[in-house]
Assembly symmetry: C2
């Protein structure tokens, strides 16, 4: 993979682990069954809790709540509470969350090529 060292350099397990850590971070942040659906829904528009629940088919309120919290902790999602009756809660992508755009696009490009390759075999 991309490196300043030559192709033949042997990496120690420790160096390999260091190389992998930031890649793993991305998988840990957007991995799991529901994170991408949530991120992509929010990339189109701000959603309320129930809107997301309806938009994302099959998700339970437990998972939605859990994953939104995780995404908020990682700084990708913003949660705003409005003092209405009954209370309104809006979830949106932060600029930081939006910056995942190009990562998702690169993954999608490769994934589409993969799908074509598989279906042509």
């Amino acid at each position: 993979m991309s490196t300043k060292k030559s192709e033949t350099t042997i990496y120690t397990p420790t160096e390999c682990k260091k190389f992998i850590l930031p890649v793993r971070d991305v998988i840990d942040i957007i991995g799991g069954k529901w994170r991408l659906p949530i991120i992509i829904a929010l990339s189109f528009k701000i959603h309320r809790f129930k809107e997301l629940e309806r938009q994302i088919e099959g998700i339970t309120p437990r998972m939605l709540s859990k994953e939104l919290k995780e995404l908020e902790i990682n700084g990708l999602v913003n949660r705003e509470v409005f003092n209405t009756m009954p209370v309104t809660v809006e979830y949106s992508l932060t600029d930081y969350g939006k910056s995942l755009d190009k990562v998702i696009e690169t993954m999608r490009d490769w994934g589409l090529t993969h799908r074509n390759k598989i279906s042509n075999e």
Copy 2:
């Protein structure tokens, strides 16, 4: 995210799922605890089974065998058996496996930025 439609277009759950599928494929292919370590080890050089087992700290032969099979099924890894005594088996990345390079690099870039952001907070 990247789309031909305007920002305000509301996507149906079905359209969203279709958009996500190829991205999920990538996560399914390189996700899990051991896939990246294996791919990255093989990106530096061809390895034999025991070499990988020694290179990737903590992996058990069961997981190594299981994940190599998966990667082979997905066309990322090539398995070559040599008729020596005892038998020699070499694992290498296919060109297709190498094409993940730019995906991993993009993820790594974002991940490194993320790590800097987290440590500066």
